[in-house]
């Protein structure tokens, strides 16, 4: 199995706050990898480092064998490494279909492709993915008026529209109705198997992550605490202590 993201010895501090210290992890191509840890353990900081939101203080981040730790957000996104946001970000003034169409992979277009109008295939793909996440009926509503959970689903569909090779999801089930969560787990898994997208997921909901991921990394206080299969992580005393605050 080949690795797609290779994080080695990454450190990041904000002033005196050490958000990540000497973190190393590997995401294998075609898998679902989980990242867990208590609040403030540096998960989102690590995601931001990987996708280029801020420079790292030390270490190396490789995507498909290429060093990306010095590249900008756009450059990394154009290599097919995409992220969704913890605070959902969609284009609120537009409707669902427009949100989807905007998310077409511009990295695969030159200016002449960009100056074409949308094709029938574009619309079909947008409708198909909106149906995939269960938003087809609301696709013509202003997406800013959708509920938070629906906006999360829309953001996920937009990410799929962009045809990424690897998708970083920051708490995909936060704020989603518990009855919808099972459906979402199913969709994330299908995105992985049907579209062949490698997923790297931050998640607080243990049931979700234990059901999905093949490998799980656990951060605490900005350092890597444990790694392993869901079973190993669930039975790891250090992880249990970190989550229950038994320090």
């Amino acid at each position: 199995m080949t690795s797609i993201i290779e994080v080695q010895g990454v450190s990041k501090s904000f002033g005196g706050v050490v958000a990540n210290h000497d973190v190393s992890m590997t995401v294998n191509s075609g898998t679902i990898t989980g990242l867990i840890g208590p609040n403030g353990s540096g998960k989102t900081t690590l995601f931001n480092s990987i996708v280029g939101y801020h420079p790292i203080d030390g270490g190396s981040i490789q995507f498909e064998g290429e060093e990306i730790s010095r590249l900008s957000v756009q450059q990394i996104a154009r290599r097919g490494l995409l992220r969704t946001f913890q605070q959902t970000r969609i284009y609120g003034a537009m409707n669902g279909v427009e949100n989807m169409l905007i998310s077409l992979p511009h990295r695969k277009m030159n200016i002449w492709d960009a100056l074409k109008t949308y094709t029938r295939e574009d619309y079909e793909r947008a409708d198909h993915l909106l149906e995939f996440v269960g938003l087809y009926e609301k696709r013509l509503l202003k997406s800013g008026d959708l509920s938070f959970g629906q906006q999360k689903l829309l953001e996920f569909a937009m990410a799929l529209m962009n045809e990424p090779t690897c998708l970083l999801l920051d708490e995909p089930t936060a704020g989603i109705n518990p009855t919808l969560i099972n459906g979402l787990i199913d969709r994330l898994k299908r995105a992985n198997t049907e579209f062949g997208i490698t997923l790297f997921v931050i998640e607080h909901n243990m049931r979700v992550i234990m059901n999905m991921a093949e490998t799980i990394y656990c951060l605490a206080h900005g350092e890597l605490l444990a790694q392993g299969t869901p079973d190993e992580i669930q039975n790891d005393q250090r992880v249990i202590d970190a989550y229950l605050g038994a320090h």
């Binding site: 957000v73 756009q74 284009y91 100056l115």
Partner: protein
């Protein structure tokens, strides 16, 4: 289908009115030409301001630069520019019909192209600025350009440039310039209509709504911003070029780089009609132009107060403009609705 037919009829009526109006209202020939100029600058301002979220106060730079470039090209093709601008009424410079119309055509086209290029250069320097900083930054460019040009003797300095007069009779000239503006105006409208329907158009909307998200989705944000401004500058530059010939004489601060007049009017037009819509700038330009002409005629002495009041009322109480108000009142006209799946309805 009925909707599509209504639209065709509407477009046909507008086009017919465009052709007939200068003959039907010969006394208003220049006014109607100016209306088209307003429509052009409003539509192009909305390309960046409304559709892309970059409120430029410096688009007047392209208007003024377009004037100068068109004038310099048409003069330079026949005479030495330095001698011509230095003549101050002393020398006699004649232009044949071919030289006049050839110079006008090449000058206007050249003005558009030159402004596109300068938009890319200025955009490269200013598109790092956001919100009010971009507005002030671009305003600074326009003001600085006006001051620089008015101190540049080769292009006539503060006196500006006097161009040759239209070779035919005066009334034909008015109609000629009306149709030049109308052609560029219709062209600008059709171009914008097409552009907003493309993937590119959607991408600049994405930049307006959340540029960081657009970055994260891999959209070439800076490149698209530069292209958009270059497209807008092309049409403004051409409009400026035509204005130069229409006005015959222009000078840098009051007519070319007129930041407080046309430079602000174009923004007010768009706000009045509705930002970020195709028809908003057109409707806004018409309303604004009517308002301006009426107050300038019947409220003379108070016209600037009336104009200021209009701006304040628009900005404070009517931010979404006519089109925004319509979208709010009649969302179904714009296709905003819940749509049940066809398959489910069939069951």
């Amino acid at each position: 289908m009925n909707m599509a037919r209504n639209k065709t009829i509407l477009y046909a009526l507008i086009l017919a009115f465009t052709f007939i109006s200068p003959f039907a209202f010969p006394d208003f020939g220049t006014q109607l030409a100016t209306l088209w100029l307003m429509i052009i600058v409003a539509l192009t301002w909305d390309m960046t301001g409304g559709q892309m979220g970059y409120n430029s106060l410096g688009n007047i730079f392209f208007y003024g630069t377009g004037m100068y470039v068109a004038a310099l090209i048409s003069i330079g093709m026949v005479y030495d520019v330095g001698d011509y601008t230095n003549a101050a009424g002393g020398g006699i410079y004649k232009f044949t019909d071919l030289q006049y119309f050839g110079g006008l055509a090449l000058g206007v086209l050249g003005a558009g192209l030159f402004c596109s290029i300068t938009a890319v250069v200025i955009g490269y320097l200013t598109f790092g600025l956001r919100g009010p900083y971009f507005a002030i930054g671009t305003l600074g460019v326009a003001i600085a350009a006006g001051e620089l040009v008015s101190n540049w003797d080769w292009v006539g300095g503060g006196q500006g440039i006097a161009l040759p007069v239209y070779p035919g009779d005066l009334d034909t000239g008015k109609i000629f310039f009306y149709f030049l503006f109308a052609a560029v105006g219709v062209g600008t409208f059709l171009f914008a209509k097409w552009l907003y329907g493309t993937r590119f158009g959607a991408a600049i909307n994405a930049i307006r709504d959340d540029e960081e998200k657009a970055d994260a989705m891999g959209i070439h944000t800076l490149r698209y911003k530069l292209y958009t401004w270059a497209m807008a500058a092309f049409f403004v530059g051409m409009a400026g070029g035509i204005s130069a010939f229409q006005l015959i004489h222009f000078e840098p601060l009051e007519s070319a780089y007129q930041t407080i007049n046309l430079g602000i009017f174009m923004v007010v037009c768009v706000l009045l009609g509705g930002k970020g819509t195709l028809w908003g700038p057109v409707i806004g330009a018409i309303l604004f132009h009517l308002f301006k002409e009426v107050t300038w005629n019947y409220l003379l002495g108070w016209q600037w107060v009336a104009l200021g009041a209009l701006i304040v009322v628009t900005v404070v109480y009517f931010q979404d403009g006519v089109m925004g108000w319509l979208v709010h009142k009649r969302p179904e006209w714009f296709g905003i609705k819940v749509e049940k799946k066809v398959a489910e309805q069939a069951k």
